[in-house]
Amino acid sequence: MRLAITGFGVVSSLGVGRAAWEAAVAEGDLRAKSLGRATAAPGDLPVAEVWDWEPKVHLGPKGHRSLDRLTKFLVTAGKYALEDAGLKAEGAFLAEETVGPTDVGVCSATAYGSLDAITELNRVAELEDPRYINPQRFPNTVINAAAGYVSIWEDLRAPNTTIVDGNCGALDAVVVAETHLQHGRAKAMLVGGGEVATEPLVRALCRLGLATGDGITGDGTPLAIGEGATYFVVEQADAANARGATTLAELRGYGTAFDAPASEAQLVHGSSAALYAAITGALGEANLDADAIDLVISTQSGLAFFDDAEKAALAEAAIDAPLRTPKRHLGETFGAAGAFGMLDALDSFRSGTAQTALVLTLGYYGNASAVVMQRPAKAPTPTA
């Protein structure tokens, strides 16, 4: 795998757009900026909401009234990513002969993106009357609709795929995008995902025992729920160089695995075996040894039984690099978590604190994925 990241767009609790994101990261004190008390969640749970979200600022005054919150996040992130990569400006492609509408696709991840719309539709049908269901809201119940609107808004006509496999979605989107790029179905792909912190989701997590504070780790920090969206523009590395794009990072390896829980009665299952297999798969594809990794973007969220599974997998893989834990300030963003992890790696590359990063995701039911990213200017020498 040798793919280039040539731009990104972000909607997050730390700000919207690359400039706001990088300014927040530069200022530091991210937990204080990011975490607060939920407007959508019951009880006293910490959440990382997209504070003061105002879609008109980013999408203009019209055309998005019927779109749900996730769709607006994704459309905004997609718009800014395309502009950041130098592909579009003010709604138009800058060099259609090189990369135009038929050349750009979307690989977007979410785990619970349509839960709120489904819950609302069901609430109206059950508690009011099915006749009161708003047909304009129905498309939002279809989980790939949100990513579909990204293509509609930006006039992107290459493949559009939504990946729904829990917390690993955004990293798994990388390999789907690679397939489309390798087969010539697209020249550039928007890769990433989004998630929304909604009341039904938070209530479900509380019922599962994941968001009650039971998983508090040694530092006393409970699981925080997060939301937001991130898209990267991903291209074949040679193609990105040929069009004169700035490469922010290279994607060099990917691995994934699934390890079934011992019992069907088990509601959650964080598997160190799956994560170990994902790590070794990613390192193998990147042709790197464990000691080439100088930064791990951890999947730690505060849930001890998942965090312990990650520690065990890293120990078995003999990776002893410093850990960054973006979920401790951005919250758990589920299907989008891998994208925010990749964004965290970009921050480390930009600051020069890392050359090669391993980004990890660990699902709630036995799946795990890993991606190896490299700072483009100074790559470690492969082992073979």
């Binding site: 279809v142 790939n144 579909g148 559009n160």
Partner: protein, 86 residues
């Protein structure tokens, strides 16, 4: 015959395509009464199965929101080797 199975529709259709390649039986579109004039050029297998030598099958899926996909299935050795192109 089996209704619209939404996300599973194309997988079920692919099973039918594979069986057609293997058995040489084209399943019919049942309850067909009248052909739309705009579909006059299509060879619709209406109401009764047909037996035929089938080497290549095209399986189309069109979703409600603009997503379209097509899958080409063939008997082994019928098509040229995969070139890696689209």
């Amino acid at each position: 015959m089996i209704g619209h199975c939404m996300g599973a529709a194309s997988a079920l259709e692919a099973v039918s395509c594979v069986m057609t390649l293997g058995d040489g039986v084209i399943p019919p579109t049942i309850h067909h009464e009248q052909t739309d004039p705009e579909c006059a050029g299509l060879r619709i297998v209406a109401n009764e199965k047909q037996e035929a030598k089938v080497d290549v099958v095209l399986n189309n899926s069109l979703a409600f929101g603009g997503y379209d996909a097509a899958l080409c299935l063939a008997k082994p050795g019928i098509l040229p080797a995969d070139t890696g192109a689209n």
